[in-house]
Amino acid sequence: MPKNGVIMAGFWAAALALWAGQVWAQTPAAPACAAPVAPSGEYAPWTNPVAIKAGGDPAAAPLLPLGTAARVTLIATPKVKYEVRPEKPGGTVSYGGILILDITKNSSYRIALSSAAWLDVIGKDGALRSTAHGHGPDCTGIRKVVEFPLQPGRYTVQIAANGADEITVMALPSP
């Protein structure tokens, strides 16, 4: 890993560690930004997302590829059939949806969102507790980053209580 990568990895570890233990809470507001900033490094794909449509139930949910940003079209909340009722379900005028995450390597993973939407990761034993949460690099539009320790297997990613019908999502291994 290049030196900058080490520094950035340390920064993100510290940034997320600040919020470790405050699991499930919302993230702080993004700072005021004069202009958007394109993220670099592992978040570089954020600015070039693929378009996918979220599922209204787990059976219809598309795969969220690791390391690839996705611009996800969501569904009106009353039409979404979640596997586990989200702790913050969102109102009838909000949007949500379901994605699938396939994990092949035991590691910690981050899921980045462009909004403060509610996020659940459901494994075979139910909803997982996140281990840290924070935000992405300032002014990049990465509004919320939640970290989960994941073992190989298939996971359901539930997005709930989003105010708009689209959201950018990216899942990637933690440094």
């Binding site: 919020w19 405050q22 499930w24 809470a25 919302q26 993230t27 702080p28 507001a29 993004a30 909340t77 009722r85 702790e87 913050k88 379900p89 969102g90 109102g91 009838t92 005028v93 909000s94 949007y95 909004s115 403060a116 939407a117 509004r143 209580a161 989003n162 105010g163 708009a164």
Partner: protein, 306 residues
């Protein structure tokens, strides 16, 4: 049959037994609880009262401040709600907020800062809720009578009744189960802290300033409402119920830990006394309150799974 009896008979036939069985107060608490967790009270359906007031944090949250639906940063730390029905005035520095019914409008319609963002959209709330037959039944049970209009006055009354049910009186302190160190801490607390943090909820409900006024500070506290120079920086004493789980502390969340918060009072306490006070403060955590299912996200309404 007279129209009123016909109406009541029709209500009895259409309202589920779970709703009918409640008395008016219980019906209002049930309605208020559902509303407390309903994000349709916010502009885009993304925030409910419970978005910021999380039960496991004593109905505060784990953030310095909480941004609203427009992502405008919050100005003040989310206060806990344990025993809030006993409090007046409410919030950190606004003596106008004398009742829970009045205060409910602040997060929903307020613009300084925008929280739930419904300013100018008040008519949307009854439209959204009225689409749900169960909500109509719950309002009818909570507010029986001719006036079946669904409006924010009723919503705020129901929210207030639910909030008044948030009673925390089962901490180790309440059960007289203090450890020896907590007992030392309680004695130190009484000597050093209880002139302001007094009474069963550890607040005198008065506005105080713990450092010299700073006219350049972004938050001028009570002065912002009264305009009196003497009120610059004055903040209402917060309750300490469940304080161990309501951090970060201070009106702006700028004290990350209890150590920081205690230290800012300028009491020059010996380290062992500070530690003992912290142990005592931990004895104000009411686990039953934090886990009481009657206060949590409702899973059913009108007998149907939500």
């Amino acid at each position: 049959m007279k129209p009123i009896f016909a109406f009541l008979a029709l209500m009895a036939l259409t309202i589920p037994p779970q709703v009918l069985a409640q008395n008016r107060h219980d019906a209002r608490v049930a309605l208020g609880r559902r509303l407390f967790y309903d994000a349709d009270l916010s502009r885009d359906g993304s925030m409910s009262c419970a978005t910021c007031h999380e039960q496991r944090h004593g109905f505060s949250d784990g953030n310095l401040v909480h941004p609203g639906v427009t992502d405008e940063p919050g100005r003040r730390n989310v206060p806990g709600l344990a025993n809030v029905g006993r409090f007046s005035p409410l919030t950190w520095a606004d003596p106008r907020q004398t009742t829970l019914e009045k205060q409910a409008a602040v997060p929903v319609f307020g613009t300084h800062p925008v929280e739930m963002g419904m300013a100018g959209m008040q008519e949307q709330i009854p439209k959204r809720l009225g689409r749900d037959p169960c909500y109509r039944q719950m309002f009818a049970a909570a507010f029986p009578g001719h006036d079946q209009k669904l409006d924010f006055a009723k919503i705020s009354r129901a929210l207030a009744d639910f909030e008044r049910s948030l009673i925390s009186r089962d901490a180790p302190f309440d059960r007289h189960r203090l450890s020896p160190e907590a007992t030392v801490g309680w004695a130190a607390f009484r000597r050093s802290c209880a002139s302001c943090h007094k009474g069963p909820d550890f607040t005198d409900m008065a506005f105080h300033r713990l450092s010299p006024p700073d006219p350049a500070a972004p938050d001028q506290g009570l002065y912002e409402v009264t305009g009196r120079q003497a009120d610059r920086g004055r903040i209402r004493t917060p309750s300490l119920r469940n304080v161990a789980v309501t951090g970060p502390y201070w009106h702006d969340g700028s004290a990350p830990t209890l150590d920081d918060a205690i230290g800012r009072h300028g009491l020059n306490l010996a380290p062992d006394k500070t530690r003992a006070i912290k142990v005592f403060l931990n004895a104000l955590t009411d686990d039953k309150f934090l886990n009481n299912q009657a206060f949590s996200l409702p899973q059913t309404a009108c007998g149907v799974k939500l």
